[in-house]
Symmetry: C2
Subunit: 417 residues, 2 copies
Amino acid sequence: MKRVYLDHAATTPVDPHVEEAMRPFWGEHFGNAGGLYEEGRRAKEALGQARIKIAKLIGARPDEIIFTSGGTESDNLAVFGVAGAALPGKKSDFFGVLKSDFEDSKASKPHIITAKFEHHAVLHPCQELEKLGFSARGGPAFGWDVTYLEVGEDGIVSPENVKRFLRPETVLVSIMYANNEIGTIQPVAEIGKIIHNHKLETKNDKLVFHTDACQAAGYLDLNVNNLGVDLMTVNGSKIYGPKGVGFLYVRRGVKISPQILGGVQEMGLRAGTEPVALNVGLASAFEIAQGEKEKESARLTVLRDYFIGGLEKKIPKAVLNGHPIKRLPNNINISIPGANGEEMVVRLDANGIACSTGSACTSESSESSHVILALGRSKKLADSSLRLTMGRSTTKGDLDYVLKVFSGIINSYGARN
Amino acid sequence: MKRVYLDHAATTPVDPHVEEAMRPFWGEHFGNAGGLYEEGRRAKEALGQARIKIAKLIGARPDEIIFTSGGTESDNLAVFGVAGAALPGKKSDFFGVLKSDFEDSKASKPHIITAKFEHHAVLHPCQELEKLGFSARGGPAFGWDVTYLEVGEDGIVSPENVKRFLRPETVLVSIMYANNEIGTIQPVAEIGKIIHNHKLETKNDKLVFHTDACQAAGYLDLNVNNLGVDLMTVNGSKIYGPKGVGFLYVRRGVKISPQILGGVQEMGLRAGTEPVALNVGLASAFEIAQGEKEKESARLTVLRDYFIGGLEKKIPKAVLNGHPIKRLPNNINISIPGANGEEMVVRLDANGIACSTGSACTSESSESSHVILALGRSKKLADSSLRLTMGRSTTKGDLDYVLKVFSGIINSYGARN
């Protein structure tokens, strides 16, 4: 049976050009980029070229690109790294901050702003920082203060809301560029401006703005100056690059503390032998994705709206999750009242269609989607949600087939229940 | 010019069989192992098979294999993970431990034993835990107590010494299986027995034994039960597998806290989309390396001793660093009094020979080798050290060539100075 793969937000196949770009660096040019000899220099050169390629595409400088093992690690590095660098280093201050904690004086605690529908790779590190007791790393934790912004019904974070919650103690704002489940595009540039102005007004030069751009990287402009971001997460897995590699853009002058220790690699911000093949592959994938983004966005927007239109006709009770237009061109996320998301996935799979109930990262857990809940939808609607994410291989014929199969499933569902 | 690559301890080329094993998982079977559909199940199945393959080779169970991005991350996960899991979770205990810290009562602080010549991927996390003030992760740090064991002149840690420093508060002992610079093989199984007995005697069931086996994986038996280890680090980069992937063996029942947060992958101990191609590649490389270890060890031991013998004749002032026999079959590490390590590397490179002054992870920094210093050697001798590490491609002819070139360089050195 022909397969129709509609889970490109979970992961994408590696582009043949990317595979080709990686090939020489497995067995032939395999040197350790730290080596002082020819094989090492060649590796270092390739690594440097990969860094330059990525930097150019986002309006950055090569030394602002920190390679990591993927989006999750980049997000962790952003949150923990900013938190670690934000605090005073003196023992005397240590007592002061602890004291303020025990007195429960929120105003003097370091503070983070993020949104309820962020990826868990941002939310879980924030929750870890909120803990009071011991940290996951073997030290005491004093409970950072984190504001989890509400998200509008349309799945969009209000810049005004970010502004309202900024405090003198805020050291990090982390708002994703496009949501991984519902694809809604956030007003990152507007938030960037608000933060920029806040910093000028309050002289809070510690405040850092991070965006997780993993889902956006194939479709949107990622120029860090246009966006006004200080940190930006991108990974290979979602842009037809290899899994197991990503980067964190770190604006020069922004201080973050390394989280994986034990070597001088990546400007001292991430230790470990550099996986040159993967880094070269990521740069190649990112170049292709950014090069094709306008054409591919235009093509998929038509397909997306065609599918949503068809759905409205064939399954009138279907509810679109997230803003109908301010969303990634490849994302369709719907709830079908009365249906069960997982069951739909299984039945669609039996008909050759691959899609998901939401984030693949939580698909094995039985929690309701925190993203759909953040829109103010009921748990029932959250549990009846389905995410279809298109990609380079998706055709109109695929969507016609999905519409036919899907409406059949839902109608039989209706008849049964 | 023909190149003679003698830096296999820094990294190895990917075995063609490994490249072949990875290939289907780039563009064809690219699914996210978290997906509930065919492509996802196939990825999950491949991931599971990789886990089974590795587990069998070390006498473990599949759910004891935690894939990571490499040796450095595995070591960090071992140290921070054990530290994070060892502490009481209650807020009330938090005050107790802090109080004990401020009173500087070492006896009640959690304690780690490691050795002075461990890889920085172990040492730096230990140093981070020792800090008093703030941690790199944005919380207070209360200063763990770490014992850095002396190393014998022969580069071997004494099991008796480990025993002597064990305390009721010791929660982690981390001793590498074979040193990355001098190749000396540590009595891991003996240390394992001591720890086992100590746990029985003192009922300290929190005590965990970790070994970094990255350098050993191609040459030694890695059965975790024979070794008596609870945690073991292995990576792909040193065993003809891909860079950017490794694993941490975690014995069932041993508690470690995850360090990269945001997903349920890897038994909840390491978040992020699983890089199936890399994991499959690592399993394949590990299988080949473990399968060839006896044959390859025998072959390289002969070559190693041939080279050392030749060196004694041609450069009598050369000093071998580390035990002459209790060392990896592929490792030759020498100091040449009066010479400069980096200069020798550069001059050998100009003659087609790739080798290193020590760990590639610190090659860009100008620090003296902490490993050579740990043997009790002078800074001068440390700065005149050279590491030659052989591999599958190394032949007797290569070594003859190196001996000839090297003695020429050293003799011209002598004439010049």
